[in-house]
Amino acid sequence: MQHDVVAIVPELMLVAAALVLLLIDPFLPAKGRRGLSWLGIMACLPAAASVWLARSQQFSTFSHGIALDGFAVFFKILLLAVAALAMLLSEKHLARNGRLLGDYYALVLLATVGMMVMASAIDLATFFVGLELMALSSYLLAGFFRHQLRSIEASLKYFLTGSFASAILLFGMALLYGLTGSTNYQQISIAIGSGSLDGHVIVIAVVLLLGGFAFKVAAAPFHGWAPDVYQGAPTPAAAFLSVGPKIAAFAAIIKFFTIMLGSEQARWVPLMIVVAIATMLIGATMALLQHDLKRMLAFSSIAHVGYLLLALIAAGQSHSNFGSSAILFYLAAYAAMNMGAFGVLVFLANSARFNDSLDEMAGLARRFPGAAGVMAVLMFSLAGIPPTAGFLAKFYLFASVVDAGYAWLAVIGVLFSVVSAFYYLRVIVYMYMREPEPEVAAVMEPGGGRSWDLSLGLGLATAVVIVLGVLPAPVLNAAQDAVAKILGS
């Protein structure tokens, strides 16, 4: 592993872009901020390119605090794509709400830097710095519509619960450090693997880490904030927050649980099973009751986290890379379909007065055939119907669970995905087969909500959902490759 600052070049690019955005923003007239998003999006491209160029080598810096290895390459490119997509979805919505500011894009970029650091950290200290950078930027993004009470409320809730979770996580990490005397992942892994440590303390550390991470990915019973935050946050920000932090957290979870605590899997797997089942249960059954689409998507994403945790159990149990690579592929598919679904809500909110309720989706196919078509594809994908990415991701994920010897868990998971089909299909039925209420129809006249970067974003998300379903091999290979190169092993 080369010791070189190359390891953080992509992050430095994003930070530079964020600073430029913050610096020039005050000098721009209100109308001049149009197209500012492209500064942020364009920053992602060279960052992704530099990550890609470094894919065959391994770099580390900050005295082995952060590493750009194959694993990090996969996550960084995915996170950069998510950030770029989030910025594509935002402009029109921000402008309509009078908050078209460079700060927004700067916050997205800084949050992305935090996530990238989380994904490539190989030291507890750098990991925590990344986590907090991501978290603080996220709280601000959730409250970005500061003239809206519910946006501020979302932000404050997110901040209070998030700080609590960070504290829990930090406590767990402190225990690991206290036990092993090191903050380096590999050192900790070796120390724990030696088996000479106090088992009771390890259990406490495991529970605290599990709780903290469960919060970050919105797993039950640490999920309560998610529906409120997604509902209250500006919709494009919710699109970003429902995907980005989870991807980064799963990158860390894989390293924490399958590498650092890999030898302790007998201790954490049972706990993880409980959390995973509770998460799927809460997500799938609660989503049935929601009439607010953002809350529905929030609970649906909780259910998806439950499936991901099943794959984590598989990854912890079996020594193959099947489970971990299933997580990576699932995250890529999930990112495209979930952000796309939120993107459609952004489009509708831009086009008319739209309160994210299911009733307002009635007859959508007639008024906005394009948006309805995109939403239908994304809903089918979220429900796991072929030939979409959602199907293949689920198939691969549950196959990994069966492969690890947890057929019964896969049965439960597939059963919940059967239940989930109902609330996804309901959206399609409303869009295509219900007549709108007259007063809703009057409000929902097609307005000037079109913006071509939003359309581009939706088109890209839909294309990814279909391409990942039909031609999954490159991404699937990349995922397997990435898992094989984790921590330079």
Binding site: T161, G211, F222, D228, V418, V419, A473
Partner: protein, 629 residues
């Protein structure tokens, strides 16, 4: 041959894309041109492929590597053997006839182009389903035909019942596919491949319990798709779709996919006696169960729907007792005659201006002669009247069950033969004979359908009559047995035996029983028309039960759906609203500081969330302690 195999699915796909995109603006009432032409060429090519296979040429073709990631390797490829050829024959023939028929039936409908686009998409998916060479590809198109089926069931979606029926079909099939997908995963993790040939080659190496699990899970998928008990509930509701759809998808092709899949997996099933027995038991039960319901239904399409469920039950019984060829034979014969019967019923409905209730029919015999005679032929075949296709195929199943030693299945099946003949001719007599029971005005308007609709009826009645004579004689070693022998060679348990005295007498028994059923219907509905009402009264509760389809839907609502709803509300109250908040307010010690901070915000939920997290941590500790004790 490769080009033909490739073009068979691709032509309808191309037509779907073109008609779907340009139909509304440009084709309008000419949308069927391309659609019918594409399926016609596919039909010719299917015939060509069938003849090639008949000459002994089969094809296994890896077209393209779909997924190659480590050991997860799936191809897109075609497998054309005798089984595929038979499916192609049924799908393309009935498909072409239904396409032609729809020109007349859907004429003037607002969604004319949409209809043809959807059924083209269906044809593509169905062709791909039967041509696939591995389980994952099969599953993909299994879902795709399902999707087309939901689209077409809900075709007239402004009607609430139609869109609900579509949704019901979708959700019930999710339950079946839940098992199916798990079965495929299990195959993959045990054998590391999903390719038919590799899976079947390794079928013997899977352990006994595992192979049973795989087979039962696969069968779950078949139960959903082929509408077997207890997942049959979606098919009768699916009759909300246009009648050509009922004929094509819900009688002749898609619902057979389950039978096809089990037959395709015969090398796996042959290794699990338990799974075979379950298949046979479910099939037999469904056969008689649905036949009883069909006895008392008054909607002409519902009678045929339950009849389809019942006949599919026969096929599963045949598969379960190891009479693989008989199952495929019946699939072929049933595909033709049930497709015919549905199209005829559509012609009747068309003639009466949309009426489906048989109590408001009667006396149509003279008015719509072609429909009457073709319907009559179809009903005879369904009843197992000697000489027609249904007779030979049904007899093959019955003798398969008997000679396999499953005499109990044989008895039930024989009773079902009787019931089938009865309800088939109840339908004929109520619809076409006796006095007209509709308004004089409606009766005066009754007219035969246009030739574009009657021609397919005549064409389909040809195989209905002759398929059995050509393929089924002599029984058990007829043409079809030789044709399919290679496919099922690995799975056939009972040795082939010659047509002898036993088979002959079995055949005679089933013929007599079938004719008896027809005669009884004649006695009930023509000779003594007061008898049905009197019998219903005497049957009392049994009649009510059958009329209400044994309350299966209601039971599902009471046992699964309503409890799930109640449970999620209850969970919501605990998680979101009540208990945790209450606990927080009661024990304010936890979040005093946070509480003061949050007072300006109208909701106190944050304390609840924090408290839940705290409880969650404690719970995890407790779980751990319990697990390690």
């Amino acid at each position: 041959m490769k080009a033909a195999v490739l073009l068979i699915p691709l032509l309808p796909l191309a037509s779907f894309i073109i008609t779907g995109f340009f139909g509304r603006r440009y084709f309008k009432d000419k949308s069927h041109y391309l659609s019918v032409a594409s399926v016609a060429i596919s039909w010719i090519l299917s015939m060509y492929v069938f003849i090639q296979v008949e000459r002994g040429q089969t094809l296994s073709w890896q077209l393209y590597t779909w997924i190659a990631a480590g050991k997860f390797h799936v191809d897109i490829g075609f497998l054309v053997d005798e089984l595929t050829a038979i499916m192609l024959l049924v799908v393309s023939t009935v498909g072409l006839m239904v396409h032609i028929y729809s020109i007349g039936y859907m004429h003037g409908d607002k969604g004319y182009y949409r209809f043809f686009a959807y059924i083209n998409l269906f044809m593509f998916s169905m062709f791909m389903l039967v041509l696939a060479n591995n389980y994952l590809l099969l599953y993909v198109f299994w879902e795709a035909v399902g999707l087309c089926s939901y689209l077409l069931i809900a075709f007239w979606f402004p009607k609430l019942s139609a869109s609900n029926a579509g949704m019901k079909a979708f959700l019930v099939n999710r339950v079946g596919d839940f098992g199916f997908s798990l079965g495929i995963m299990l195959i993959f993790v045990t054998l590391g491949t999903l390719d038919y040939s590799s899976v079947f080659a390794a079928a013997g190496t899977i352990g006994g319990g595992m192979v049973t699990a795989i087979c039962l899970l696969l069968f779950t998928g078949a139960v959903g798709k082929s509408a077997q008990f207890p997942l049959h509930v979606w098919l009768p509701d699916a009759m909300e779709g246009p009648t050509p759809v009922s004929s094509l998808i819900h009688a002749a092709t898609m619902v057979n996919a389950g039978v096809y899949m089990v037959a395709r997996s015969s090398p796996l099933f042959a290794h699990s006696h338990t799974a075979m027995l379950v298949v046979a038991a479910i099939g037999t039960f469904t056969a008689i169960f649905a036949a009883i319901i069909a006895l008392v239904q008054n909607d002409i399409k519902k009678v045929l729907a339950y009849s389809t469920i019942s006949q599919l039950g026969y096929m599963f019984m045949a598969l379960g007792v190891g009479a693989w060829t008989a199952a495929m034979f019946h699939l072929l014969a049933h595909g033709f005659f049930k497709g015919l019967l549905f199209l005829c019923s559509g012609s009747v409905i068309h003639a009466l201006g949309g009426e489906q209730d048989m109590r408001k029919m009667g006396g149509l015999r003279k008015k719509i002669k072609i429909t009457y005679w073709t319907f009559f032929i179809g009903a005879l075949a369904l009843s197992g009247f000697p000489g027609l296709s249904g007779f030979f195929s049904k007899d093959a199943i019955l003798s398969g069950a008997f000679s396999g030693g499953y005499w109990y299945f044989w008895i039930v099946a024989l009773i079902t033969v009787f019931l089938t003949a009865f309800y088939s001719f109840r339908l004929i007599f109520m619809t076409f004979h006796s006095e007209p029971r509709m308004d004089a005005k409606v009766f005066a308007h009754v007219h035969e359908s246009p030739p574009v609709m009657t021609a397919p009826l005549i064409v389909l009645s040809v195989p209905t009559v002759v398929a059995g004579l050509f393929l089924g004689i002599p029984p058990e070693s007829g043409h079809i047995d030789h044709f399919l022998h290679r496919v099922f060679a690995a799975a056939i348990v009972t040795p082939e035996h010659q047509f002898g005295f036993l088979s002959g007498s079995l055949m005679a028994i089933s013929a007599v029983v079938g004719i008896g059923g027809i005669l009884l219907a004649w006695h009930f509905y023509l000779r003594c028309p007061f008898l049905p009402a009197a019998t219903c009264k005497r049957a009392g509760r049994l009649y009510t039960l059958a009329l209400n389809k044994f309350y299966v839907d209601e039971i599902y609502f009471a046992v699964f759906i309503n409890p799930l709803r109640r449970f999620s509300r209850w969970l919501w109250r605990i998680v979101d609203a009540g208990v945790i908040d209450g606990a927080v307010n009661g024990a304010g010690w936890l979040a005093l500081g946070a509480g003061r901070l949050l007072r300006p915000i109208q909701t106190g939920k944050v304390q609840g969330y924090l408290f839940a997290m705290f409880l969650g941590l404690l719970a995890l500790m407790v779980v751990y302690i319990i697990l390690t004790l």
